[in-house]
């Protein structure tokens, strides 16, 4: 009874999140990190060509994705969106299939480099490598949602470097003019590969830029998972009410190098990397859960063991999966339906015959 009294005052309950919610959120963060670690191991072992991922971003991503209706709403990701696409519905195995470029990789059938997420069933739009191009796509998806009155909300994400692209600015402008139901997230880890924030922009906060487009902007500590949720929930409700888009800056830490082809030790001070590790969302959120009596060492160990098993199983699935057949390499340049393809490209539209 006394334990319940403690949690009754807990911050998450005041926000409308249940105990089960926050434990599930924590599980996603731990799962994303374990998956991330596995991807790097597979790369170091020579099984994966390349890794780009999001260690340190998981707390912000889980917080920002939590208000969404995972089946109904849209997500337009970027290459660090590991935790976000997991919350949206992708499985660790699906992500590892793309890492190992297998035929059954749902994002691209092994055509794109890893981390170019896309999944029609989970309404995750296919993404490319040029930075910033996804922002206008999100604005367009949201515009369609608005005039078709589907009630869908769109969330898209990008890094701080991406905010320098013209597409980023053009998308915010278009979205604000039309008050579309879109949340524009920026995961600001203060580095675009090696270029620090002060060489990327002169403004102290990316959220300030929202004013220039006529939309609300917030800046939030990306290691404070509940705060990430709260701010995104506000933006989500605003979008649902028809009051238009929101820009949210999530101040996160990049715990690793940009990618497996980069060594951050060459351009980041050791002390800074060490300090970043102290703000790891697994630590900060774990500490919160302990403080409200929802987590202890035993529970944590049990959860991590379960997650590890899931990652091991996913790795087996991905490693056993077949490579793509070169005979299929010329397919899908133009509309080219395959009755055997498990992915139905237009499943959510209900107008397949018209669209062919």
């Amino acid at each position: 009874m006394s334990a319940r009294e403690v949690t009754a005052k807990a911050k998450h309950l005041e926000m409308g999140l249940s105990d089960a919610d926050v434990l599930e959120m924590y599980r996603y963060i731990v799962l994303a990190r374990a998956l991330d670690d596995r991807m790097w191991v597979l790369q170091r072992a020579g099984k994966a060509m390349f890794v780009i991922s999001g260690p340190g971003h998981e707390g912000a991503q889980v917080g920002m994705m939590w208000p969404l209706d995972r089946k109904h709403d849209w997500f337009v990701p970027f290459y660090r969106s590991v935790a976000a696409v997991l919350v949206k519905g992708m499985s660790p195995a699906e992500i590892l299939l793309s890492l190992l470029a297998k035929a059954t990789d749902p994002s691209s059938g092994g055509r794109q480099m890893p981390a170019h997420y896309g999944h029609p069933r989970y309404k995750i739009l296919s993404t490319s490598s040029p930075v910033g191009t996804q922002y206008p796509h999100a604005a367009g998806i949201a515009y369609a949602a608005k005039i078709r009155r589907t009630g869908e909300v769109v969330i898209t994400s990008i890094g701080d470097g991406g905010t320098s692209q013209g597409d980023w600015h053009e998308a915010l402008n278009f979205a604000a003019i039309h008050k579309v139901p879109c949340i524009f997230a920026v995961e600001n880890n203060r580095y675009a590969i090696s270029v620090p924030l002060n060489k990327q922009m002169a403004v102290p906060s990316i959220a300030l830029r929202a004013q220039g487009y006529g939309m609300p902007g917030s800046s939030v500590d990306g290691n404070d998972v509940l705060e990430c949720y709260r701010v995104t929930k506000e933006a989500y409700d605003r979008a649902k009410r028809g009051d238009g888009p929101t820009l949210i800056e999530f101040r996160v830490e990049r715990l690793g190098s940009h990618s497996s082809d980069d060594q951050q030790e060459r351009y980041r001070p050791k002390e800074e990397i060490e300090a970043a590790r102290q703000r790891d969302p697994i630590l900060t959120f774990g500490t919160y859960l302990r403080s409200v009596g929802l987590l202890d060492d035993a529970k944590d160990q049990q959860l991590r063991a379960e997650v590890q098993r899931e990652i091991d199983e996913a790795t087996d699935v991905a490693e056993r999966a077949p490579d793509p057949d070169p005979a299929t390499a010329a397919r899908h340049v133009y509309y080219d339906p395959d009755p055997d393809n498990p992915v139905d490209p237009v499943w959510w539209r209900g107008d397949t015959d018209r669209r062919r």
């Binding site: 055509r111 029609p120 490319s128 040029p130 206008p136 367009g140 515009y143 949602a145 003019i177």
Partner: protein, 327 residues
């Protein structure tokens, strides 16, 4: 059947498709209240409202980029680029995104959209209102590129492009809007994307052209008939996909090929036609595959004498035909 202008045929196609399918929308600079700077979207705003007829900010990359998102979420957008000369900021969205969406997602996502592009030189349009951009885009797998010439084709191919599940770059030579007229049936019909068409039968030499260059070529062919040169004129209205059969069939018949295009000659679209004919019709040829194209300067200069120097006119075409016919 009434004769209408090229422009009116395009406008008709818009109205009918908007009526037929509520997913069709148009977006671009001045397409709404003004009805487009050339008048192609006239009357749509009043009839279908601002949700479907969108006056966009002056930002080509997001005109195309937002249209890609709309296409992903159940709309059939027509993105108008006001002048081909201003399409370049959208190059990345067209080439990296629209054209690759299907391939990169292994068929999971498509990009059913039309990008309408007024192009080419007209009177006094100079460097930045006269460019031909077809070579950049015809190069890209995943895109379809068309340049219809007759008003009949303009209407039928635009309807086909709107209904096509893939992105179509739809080129409209500006000079044709008010000058080219033709019979266009009211009501629904489509013209398939892909096939070329022989506009004028002849036995001595084949001229391959599209857009305004087809107009000039037909005039030249008519003049040359009086000189006893029987010119076949082929309308290459679909640049990608390309109708090899009709092209090679014409060369097999006339044994001589002149390719006319307004774009800069070097690495222009005509170079692909020339390569195709050289590779696959070598045995049929009685003369060198020849290109007549725009000079390699950055654009059509403004002053009348300079403009005249650039233009590919029926006189220049006739002279190139004579030379090759007598080879």
């Amino acid at each position: 059947m009434p004769e209408i202008r090229y422009l009116d045929a395009l406008n008709q196609a818009h109205h009918e498709e908007f009526e037929r399918d509520e997913r069709v929308i148009v977006m671009g600079e001045d397409v709404g209240r003004k009805g487009g700077v050339f008048g192609v979207t006239m009357g749509l705003y009043e009839k279908f409202g601002e949700d479907r007829v969108i006056d966009t900010p002056l930002a080509e990359s997001s005109i195309v980029g937002c249209a890609i998102g709309m296409a992903a979420n159940g709309l059939l957008p027509i993105a108008e680029i006001q002048f081909a000369d201003f399409i370049h900021p959208a190059f990345d969205q067209i080439v990296s995104e629209a054209a690759r969406m299907r391939y990169r997602s292994n068929g999971a996502f498509g990009c059913p959209m039309v990008i309408r592009v007024p192009y080419g030189g007209s009177h006094g349009t100079a460097l930045y209102h006269s460019q031909s951009v077809e070579a950049f885009y015809a190069h890209v797998p995943g895109l379809k590129v068309v340049a219809p010439y007759t008003p009949y084709d303009a209407k039928g191919m635009l309807k086909e492009a709107i209904r096509d599940p893939d992105p179509v770059l739809f080129l409209e030579h500006k000079r044709m809007y008010r000058i080219v007229k033709g019979e266009v049936p009211e009501g629904d019909y489509t013209v398939p994307i892909g096939p070329a068409v022989v506009r004028r039968e002849g036995k001595d030499i084949s001229v391959f052209a599209y857009g305004w260059m087809l107009h000039e070529s037909l005039q030249a062919a008519q003049a040359l008939a009086a000189e006893g040169i029987d010119v076949e004129v082929v309308d290459v209205r679909s640049l990608r996909p390309l109708d090899k059969e009709t092209i090679l069939g014409s060369v097999a018949k006339t044994n001589k090929a002149l390719i006319v295009y307004e774009d800069n000659r070097f690495v222009g679209f005509g170079a692909e036609l020339a390569a195709l004919i050289a590779e696959e019709a070598f045995e049929d040829l009685d003369g060198p595959v020849t290109r007549l194209a725009g000079p390699d300067v950055p654009g059509i200069p403004f002053a009348k004498p300079l403009e005249q120097w650039f233009w590919i006119t029926q006189e220049k075409i006739a002279s190139a035909v004579r030379k090759l016919a007598h080879y």
